[in-house]
């Protein structure tokens, strides 16, 4: 079974109550589908950032087998 690894960081990790999910891959799966399944929410929070395979993404791209998706709040680094 091919999976998508899902990660949550910072405030979003705390709100989800976990740091990681594993989701079964299906053709046509999008970032918003992952978020809906994980959170039960229809919409992604406006301020939330999304990375696929450690690259920031905008919009709602389709995923490929083996992708890693991460959800996190705006960064406050340095």
């Amino acid at each position: 079974m091919s999976i998508i690894k899902v990660k949550f960081f910072a405030r979003i990790r705390e709100e989800m109550g976990r740091a990681e999910d594993q989701v079964e891959f299906k053709p046509g799966l999008k970032v918003s589908d992952i978020w809906n399944r994980a959170s039960g929410d229809d919409e992604m929070p406006e301020a939330m950032l999304v990375a696929v395979n450690m690259e920031h993404v905008k919009g709602d791209p389709e995923l490929k087998e083996g992708d890693e998706v991460a959800f996190f709040p705006p960064v406050t680094g340095g």
Binding site: K7, F9, A10, R11, R13, A51, M54, A70, F72, P73, P74, V75, T76, G77, G78
Partner: protein
């Protein structure tokens, strides 16, 4: 070029000393520009006792390397040293070190400033502060000037 995350306390000044002592050509770089960010006891109007810096293992390192490569492509710098703390940080501990070496001061100073600004606004780090009534996530960085307090 060296880019590292540090889960344990480090002395940013000593690290620069070690790095330049190990360096090859002392006569090449006329200019060294260094920025050190240190854990303050005060932020956004409240006393802060400690901080936890969360990161995204893999993506954070990748981002820091890209920042440095971008700076090296934009300014004539010979070398860059970037160290960044993660985890639980006490007041007075160093959080970030950016050091750049160049032939000329303008290139070194601009590159260091670029790296620290990018890092503040785009690198995947999240700060959680311990204040008098518990913990709080820091939602945004300051502008970098005292008027922003």
């Amino acid at each position: 070029m060296r880019v590292e995350l540090r889960p344990a306390p480090f002395d940013a000044v000593a690290e620069v000393g070690d790095y330049r002592a190990a360096g090859g050509s002392p006569g090449k770089s006329g200019a060294t520009s260094i920025f050190i960010g240190t854990m303050r006891d005060f932020n956004e109007g409240e006393e802060v006792g400690a901080m936890t810096l969360e990161h995204y293992p893999g993506m954070t390192e990748k981002h820091l390397k890209e920042i440095c490569e971008h700076a090296a492509g934009q300014w004539a710098v010979h070398d860059i040293l970037l160290l960044h703390r993660t985890g639980d940080i006490e007041v007075g501990e160093d959080i970030v070190l950016v050091a750049t070496w160049a032939a000329h001061r303008g290139d070194a100073i601009d590159a260091t400033r670029f790296i620290i600004e990018d890092l503040k606004h785009r690198a995947p780090f999240w700060k959680k502060e311990t204040v008098s009534d518990g913990e709080r996530w820091v939602d945004r960085n300051t502008s970098g000037y005292s008027a922003a307090d």
